[in-house]
């Protein structure tokens, strides 16, 4: 980090100490949620949101599908990969592919087509449950929200929470023919990650998982994506701000 910026320490920790003891540092790139949109029963190729960027933004799609053909009201499932009702994105909009799609999408200003590598941030041995001292901390309320709110959705950051940080974004063009693409992250643990694919001849970018003819896995050191599609791919890895034992 440069010799200027802002650092917010966890309760009871020194802000001049290790990054692992911070709630926030201006050296970290966070997932700012610039738009959220719920939708219900949309027909195929229906626009959910025109994002207005001239790039493809990182988006987090959720649908009400528990399993293939099993939709249930009130359920939020990350990018259900089985069956229809997928959510796509291009340079202009987020839209449906498949009929009767119900869910919600979050949009961030992270460009999926632009490589990014975060500066080194040591996050070993960090936040555990119950470390919060309620007598002090920091809260940044959003516009129009009460600083005394008990709903953490009302805050940009809150010392009772941890925010995943963007560790890397890797864009690549892919070729036809089944192969495995490998990306090192070297975080030392299996991180949260997303893989987006823009298959030639399909409507746009979609999140892919391990089902059918795609395989997406992570290990302590790398992300491996296997498929045979001609097109474009973007791999996003998030730094884990939480200690999971």
């Amino acid at each position: 980090m440069a010799d200027w910026g802002i650092k917010l320490s966890q309760p009871g920790e020194d802000a001049t100490g290790a990054d692992a003891r911070l709630v926030f540092s201006s050296s970290w790139k966070l997932l700012n949620i610039v738009h959220e949109e719920s939708f219900s029963g949309l027909a195929d190729n229906t626009t959910i949101y025109e994002h207005g960027y001239d790039y493809v933004p990182l988006f987090l799609p959720y649908t009400n599908q528990k399993f293939t053909g099993v939709a249930e009201a009130g359920v939020a499932s990350f990018n259900h990969a089985f069956g229809s009702g997928r959510i796509f994105c291009d340079e202009n909009r987020i839209f449906t592919d498949g009929s009767s799609t119900t869910g919600r999408v979050m949009v961030t200003p992270i460009n999926l087509l632009e490589d990014y590598q975060a500066p080194s941030v040591n996050l070993d041995n960090i936040s555990k449950n119950g470390r919060i001292d309620h007598d002090w901390g920091i809260k940044v309320a959003l516009e129009g929200k009460d600083i005394h709110s008990t709903d953490t959705r009302d805050f940009a950051i809150h010392s009772g929470t941890r925010s995943p940080m963007v560790h890397m974004v890797k864009y690549a063009e892919t070729t036809a023919g089944y192969k495995t693409y490998t990306y090192e992250h070297n975080l030392g643990y299996p991180p949260m990650f997303m893989v987006y694919l823009n298959i030639d001849g399909t409507p746009g970018w979609q999140v892919i998982g391990s089902a059918g003819d795609t395989a997406v896995v992570c290990t302590d050191t790398e992300i491996r994506v296997s498929h045979g599609y001609l097109g474009e791919m973007s791999v996003v890895v998030l730094k884990d701000p939480l200690e999971l034992e």
Binding site: G5, K66, F78, R104, M106, R153, G160, V217
Partner: protein, 133 residues
């Protein structure tokens, strides 16, 4: 935006000259967050042995929110590879999903077959403080 709030730019950028979308942090947009408060902790790990055929509910815990939150889950079916849920165990046997409903966070395995029974499923889950529906 009002004439008050907070804007934090990244290194070598002027917070007054950047669009809000370009800032590291501002009071205009929320960030994706996970509560770590002991009364509201929204992350964890665990494992379970898949016992039978049909459907097995690996984990169901109250998420404690008065809305249906978004979540993200990694699952491990053996070895060092972790998968983002939903995923499959083996083709034709064992669809794994994780989701939230109005009350609970849930991981379950459906279509369990003979090649899945007795296997251990490990999981790492994060429940965010954003609406998933």
């Amino acid at each position: 935006m009002n004439d008050y709030g907070i804007k934090v730019s990244g290194e070598n950028n002027n917070a007054n000259e950047q669009e809000f979308e370009e800032l590291i942090l501002s009071s205009k947009y929320p960030t994706l967050k996970v509560a770590v408060d002991e009364e509201r902790s929204k992350f964890g790990t665990g494992q379970a042995v898949i016992p039978n055929t049909g459907t097995y509910e690996v984990l169901r815990i109250p998420h404690g929110y008065d809305y249906t939150p978004a979540s993200l889950t990694l699952v491990n079916k053996g070895g060092d590879a972790w998968y983002i849920a939903p995923t499959i165990w083996f083709f034709g046997e064992g669809a794994i999903n994780a989701y939230c409903d109005e009350d609970d966070y849930v991981i379950d395995v459906r279509d369990i077959g003979s090649s899945v029974q007795g296997k251990t499923l490990k999981y790492r889950y994060y429940i965010f403080d954003r609406n998933g529906t």
